[in-house]
């Protein structure tokens, strides 16, 4: 299997994407619903929706580039997207934060999988991750994008031999995953209640 195909079709990636699908679609739709109900977290819903659509289109472009084996193009596309101005949390709300975590997460995944393409140093990669997470990621409602980026931070730290910090990141990601799972199981239980 080629590295590109591996990145596209690997089970772990599929899991993240499946998670992302359900959670973000639900979250995004909730955003719109809450906006129309006058209970919107984001101050600029239109801009946020447009941003989300742009991110989606870019993801599709990256998909295509990876299918064609153009990992360098995919990384460049995500780098360009990463460097665009992201809304502050007070403007974009949690959804805006999740969108940023998603883009950074996919970029970092590719950076870790293809370290020889447009290489960045370990420290720079960690800086990118920390920039993506920003300091307030723990305040964002638990979601799979943030969990993935935290887990990737652990991976990057592990690659640098900073095992204790890596373990902490993995443990944090595991806790987020636990919360997401509990939420799903509760929803399921409530759905089954008479």
């Amino acid at each position: 299997m080629t590295s590109g195909a591996r990145t596209l079709a690997s089970p772990a990636t599929a899991r993240w994407l499946t998670l992302a699908l359900g959670f973000v679609l639900g979250g995004g739709s909730m955003l719109v619903g809450l906006a129309q109900a006058g209970r919107l977290a984001a101050a600029r819903p239109e801009a946020l929706v447009a941003l989300a659509q742009m991110v989606e289109v870019e993801h599709r472009r990256v998909d295509l580039l990876l299918e064609r084996g153009d990992e360098a193009g995919a990384i460049a596309a995500l780098e360009a997207l990463r460097r665009q101005p992201w809304p502050a949390r007070e403007d974009g709300g949690d959804i805006g934060e999740q969108l940023r975590h998603d883009v950074y997460g996919r970029l970092v995944r590719l950076r870790l999988d293809f370290p020889d393409i447009d290489p960045v140093g370990d420290d720079a990669l960690l800086q990118i991750i920390d920039q993506g997470l920003s300091g307030s990621y723990r305040e964002v409602e638990t979601n799979p994008f943030t969990a993935r980026l935290v887990a990737l931070r652990g991976e990057a730290l592990e690659g640098r031999g900073r095992d204790d910090e890596a373990l902490g990141a993995y443990e944090e990601a595991l806790g987020m995953n636990r919360a997401l799972l509990d939420r799903e199981l509760l929803d399921r239980e409530l759905g089954e209640a008479p």
């Binding site: 739709s29 109900a37 600029r44 991110v55 373990l167 799972l181 199981l185």
Partner: protein, 207 residues
């Protein structure tokens, strides 16, 4: 599978949207009588929206030039639910990989586990998404409780997969720190979460 899940999520999105619309009704009347308090901000947002929309159009044009129809979703894969055998292999994998300098969980062999068959949900989705997972395709089947059920099960199974991936990575790391209680504890917790999540996945898949 991912596309089907998308459709299911789209149905959820439509439901939530409808809910939001329903809740908005009384406020709409008030909104017509007075300027919206966020009008200045929304005006600024409109400017941003135009810029972002232009970028979006450019992206869409680029995609179209590459032969991609952005109105269609990608074909997806089934989320891989870890089997008991797979969970058992986590320890073995950790043993085997303990001599490696680094591992990539995305490369971990994960046998496919059947996921409960789902009925496709029909709703087109225009909700914002973070990845290419929306679709405007009409669904041949009505939205129903079964769709929501399958969607939730998919997410549970995906979470199980993530938990087991994390467990493998954590326990591999723990092998390098034998005797360190913290590593052992986190590994144990990760394995329990993997096992519990996998059981939950198996339970809902069997429904």
């Amino acid at each position: 599978m991912r596309a089907t899940t998308l459709l299911l999520a789209g149905a959820l999105a439509t439901g939530l949207l409808a809910s939001g619309c329903a809740k908005r009704a009384p406020e709409s009347a008030a909104a017509t009588a007075a300027p919206h308090p966020l009008a200045p901000e929304l005006g600024a947002a409109a400017g941003e929206l135009a810029a972002v929309s232009a970028a979006l159009a450019q992206n869409a044009a680029s995609l179209a030039a590459l032969g991609v129809d952005t109105s269609r979703s990608r074909d997806g894969e089934k989320p891989d639910a870890p089997t008991k055998r797979e969970r058992d292999e986590i320890r073995d994998g950790a043993d085997e990989k303990s001599s490696e300098s680094a591992t990539d969980l995305d490369d971990a062999p994960t046998p496919k586990t059947p996921v409960a068959p789902k009925s496709a949900a029909p709703s087109p989705s225009t909700a914002p998404t973070a990845t290419a997972r929306t679709t405007a395709e009409p669904s041949p089947e009505p939205v129903g409780a079964a769709s929501d059920e399958a969607s939730g099960c998919d997410r549970i199974c995906a979470l199980a997969g993530v938990a087991c991936d994390l467990a493998q990575r954590i326990c591999t790391l723990a092998k390098h720190h034998e005797g360190d209680a913290r590593y052992a504890d986190v590994c144990w917790n990760a394995e329990r979460q993997c096992e519990q999540a996998s059981d939950a996945c198996a339970d809902c898949s069997a429904c």
